[in-house]
């Protein structure tokens, strides 16, 4: 009797064709009801179905092409990269050196310079449609140049990452204003300083402050999830407590931000302990659902306790932060900043001040975290994360260890919350939904839990990426005027969470230095540490 093997060796292309076909069938099944058919309201307010077969075909064909390319080219390519890696023992940077070459770098620099100086003239000459392409090329040239610099300086950057990061964060608003001033000068605008400050609003506020708030929140949650290993799905509750403490006490009693900031932190820490007590005995997923429930309870109380919180309408007119009482940012005040320094009025000063405030708060969080990790309580957190039973048998009081983790994590959430209220000037329960907790947790996990730098990078990529989508007006010239990139923001955010997690299941910073070590400091691969195990 002869054995017959039915499976013939197939080429990657054949296999890819088969996979593409399967992907096509599955995506047709998935998208038939949602893309092929759309529910729409007609004039009599009844639902009717609208068919979109063209769009459905496009999406299915696109899925097939992507799947084909992935199986036929991307998978073998990645496999080759891994083999080269094992032989040389080096990082697979051959593609990198091919992609970043000195002539290309000089070319991109020249292109960027030409387009920055003459960009507006070219756009004025060609009209807005081709102008969009000019802006796009300029953006790509700048990104390429920056990436090339980072690629060649990667050894240096890797060594001094934290200090470079902090210095560039401190310089960021100044750089934005200077670059915008240069742009205004090249456009020949009349009032260069006011144009520069007005234009910097978007960059400092939407990008700088927004990202730093998430960095701070994620660093605060990192104490609970990353260090103590307690899975908290309701972190946004402490953010809400901080925001509402400042909003309520500030509007009703007129207390200053600098008194209410520590108070908001203390109140949030108090709530952290309140939450901590009932959940002390719970483990893993039971803990997760109770913290989620706690977050929802806080939000529901904020919505329904209308006498105090004004319900879902929220509290408006939250007072602004003053510069320690020396000067303020309210135009009507006698010591308004532009009156004190005799400079033109602008809302940008307040935003730049807020930027430095949140930067200081975030750095404080990082500093406290780093110092706490070296203290007995920090060691106890990490021991608790690795093994609760061993921890208890060594005489560590798990009750107080868990409670301090909850309290300190919550305190930083409270600080961030009161900052948020001061920045918005308005708080409402809308800002404290579960989605926010999920985003913060995702940033912590994607960053590689416990790693402060990794978390900051994750916040930059995820929050900055979705904020950047708001700015992609040029996409309108490709997809038509009805195209609104904001609509796809959260869809892409969710998909990015999945893709990043599949690509790097251990997060961006997947190895870490131990805080406690014997004689020699060895980096441990992330796979040897156990996190989030209730």
């Amino acid at each position: 009797m002869s054995l017959q093997t039915s499976t013939q060796p197939t080429s990657p292309v054949q296999q890819a064709l088969r996979e593409a076909l399967i992907a096509g069938v599955v995506s047709f099944g998935l998208f038939f009801f949602f893309i092929g058919l759309k529910t729409d309201q007609n004039i009599r307010n009844e639902l009717v179905l609208v068919t979109r077969w063209g769009l459905l075909t496009t999406v299915v064909v696109l899925t097939m092409i992507v799947r084909f390319l992935y199986v036929a080219y991307a998978v073998p390519f990645l496999a080759r990269q891994k083999i080269a890696d094992a032989v040389t023992g080096l990082l697979p940077d051959s593609t990198g050196t091919k992609f970043f070459r000195v002539p290309f770098f000089i070319g991109s620099l020249a292109l960027a310079a030409v387009l920055i100086v003459f960009g507006s003239a070219i756009v004025a000459w060609t009209g807005p449609n081709i102008g969009a392409y000019v802006t796009l090329i300029r953006a790509f040239a700048i990104i390429y140049a920056v990436a090339a610099v980072m690629f060649y300086g990667r050894a240096f950057i890797g060594r001094n990452f934290a200090s470079i990061g902090i210095v560039s964060l401190i310089l960021y608003p100044i750089l934005v204003v200077v670059i915008l001033a240069l742009l205004a000068w090249s456009n020949g605008s009349a009032n260069i300083t006011s144009a520069a400050f007005q234009g910097s609003l978007k960059w400092v506020d939407n990008f700088g402050i927004q990202i730093l708030i998430y960095v701070m929140l994620a660093w605060g949650l990192n104490i609970v999830v990353g260090l103590a290993g307690l899975l908290d799905l309701g972190y946004v509750a402490f953010y809400a407590v901080g925001a509402y403490s400042y909003a309520l006490l500030g509007t009703h009693f007129g207390l200053s931000f600098w008194i209410l900031l520590p108070m908001a932190g203390i109140l949030a820490a108090f709530w952290g302990v309140m939450l901590g007590f009932p959940v002390l005995r719970l483990r893993g997923d039971y803990l997760a659902i109770v913290t989620l429930a706690f977050g929802e309870i806080i939000r529901l109380v904020l919505i329904n306790w209308r006498e105090v919180t004004n319900g879902s309408a929220g509290i408006s007119g939250v007072p602004k932060v003053s510069f320690f009482g020396w000067f303020t940012f309210n135009v009507s005040d006698p010591n308004y900043i532009s009156k004190v320094f005799d400079i033109p009025q602008s809302g940008a000063y307040y935003k730049i001040f807020l930027y430095y405030l949140i930067l200081a708060l975030a750095l404080l969080t990082a500093f406290v975290t780093i110092r706490l990790r070296r203290m007995p309580v920090g060691r106890a957190w990490e021991a608790l994360r690795e093994d609760e039973i061993a921890c208890r048998s060594l005489g560590i009081n798990t009750t107080s260890t868990k409670l301090t983790a909850f309290a300190i994590g919550a305190m930083f959430g409270g600080f961030a919350g009161s900052f948020f209220a001061a920045r918005q000037g308005f708080v409402s329960p809308e800002s404290f939904v579960f989605l926010e907790s999920a985003i913060i947790l995702a940033i912590v996990v994607l960053g590689g839990m416990g790693s402060l730098v990794g978390i900051a990078i994750a916040a930059l990529v995820m929050v900055g990426g979705t904020e950047a989508l708001r700015e992609m007006e040029f996409l309108k010239s490709f997809f038509g005027q009805d195209f609104t990139p904001e609509l796809y923001r959260m869809l892409l955010f969710g998909m990015a969470m999945v893709v990043v997690m599949l690509w790097k299941p251990r997060g961006f910073a997947s190895s870490r230095e131990p805080t406690a070590f014997l004689r020699e400091r060895k980096a441990v691969s992330g796979s040897f540490t156990k996190e989030g195990h209730g």
Binding site: T39, N304, F434, A442
Partner: protein
């Protein structure tokens, strides 16, 4: 007394829907130990498919008997929702099996965000109302029971019986229970673990799709954000009953349904969710592994 019984019936209806969703959570948790956060949105997807099938039926045929329409809606929703959950498991959870615990939780949250926004982008952000399908109401001794409620309870009971039979009496159910106890050992004994896990996701999704269809029939409206609240409640129900335990999921669902309807009847409707969540916290303080859950054995 009549008022009390009336609320009991309302609670039973609500609890049946929560119970059907909760089974999906608890089964997935039992077999691979992860919280499938996207399950609430799978429920919403099921409701949406039922809505689209309903609209297609009413536009294609002049009149369809309600029973047949409901059946077709349910079956199509079950099939299509299963396809969704099967794909999600394959794409987002399977590659991370054996990775550390929080990784699949994060992909599940990402999938949940992506699914609800996918529906928002493709179907529009508005509420989608449909005309009432079943409107008959019976009056028995001063208590009014609508036909909708009877349908929901009967369908749930039939499905749970079927499901109980499937898990306890068939080889498929045996394979599932084996995987739940020890996945490696089950694989060594010749059980196709991947297939069993896929089938678990398909079963959970079909029950969620039925819940979605019933939800659409009961409330007559669905929107893209409707997955979250029932999803969290069902998850609460699964934990309350003891996560991993099937009777626990149904019991938890009924309990949450009763708490909600009683609280809104006797206290305040605004705080019904607060009551449900608080009772969860109180129960877990005294029974840390839920009502019917096995206490976790700590191995050193």
């Amino acid at each position: 007394m009549q008022y009390f019984i009336q609320q009991l019936i309302n609670g039973l209806t609500l609890g049946s829907i929560y119970g059907l969703i909760a089974i999906g959570y608890t089964m997935v948790y039992g077999i691979i130990g992860m919280i499938n956060f996207a399950h609430g949105d799978i429920f919403m997807i099921g409701a949406f498919i039922a809505l689209i099938v309903f609209l297609a039926l009413t536009s294609l045929f002049y009149s369809v008997p309600v029973v047949i329409a409901l059946l077709i809606m349910m079956i199509v929703a079950m099939l299509m929702t299963s396809l969704y959950n099967w794909t999600i498991e394959k794409v987002a959870y399977r590659p991370l099996r054996g990775s550390f615990r929080l990784a699949p939780l994060i992909t599940a949250i990402g999938m949940s965000i992506a699914l609800s926004n996918f529906v928002q982008v493709t179907q529009g952000p508005r509420n989608k109302p449909i005309p009432q399908m079943v409107s008959r109401v019976y009056e028995i001794g001063g208590i009014s029971i609508s036909l909708k409620q009877i349908i929901i309870v009967v369908v749930t009971a039939v499905l749970l019986t079927l499901f109980w039979y499937l898990v306890n009496k068939t080889s498929l159910g045996r394979a599932q229970r084996a995987c739940e106890q020890d996945r490696k050992m089950a694989a060594l004994l010749g059980i196709d673990v991947d297939r069993t896990i896929s089938i678990t996701f398909i079963m959970g999704a079909s029950l969620a799709a039925v819940a979605g269809t019933l939800f659409l029939m009961y409330y007559g409206v669905v929107s893209f954000s409707d997955g979250f609240v029932p999803g969290v409640k069902a998850f609460t129900a699964a934990v309350l009953g003891g996560i991993g335990s099937l009777p626990g999921a149904v019991l938890g669902g009924l309990l949450i349904g009763f708490i909600e309807s009683m609280w809104s009847a006797y206290f305040s409707i605004d705080y019904k969710d607060v009551a449900a969540f608080s009772i969860l916290a109180i129960v877990l303080i005294f029974l840390p592994s839920g009502i019917l859950g096995r206490p976790e054995v700590e191995k050193v």
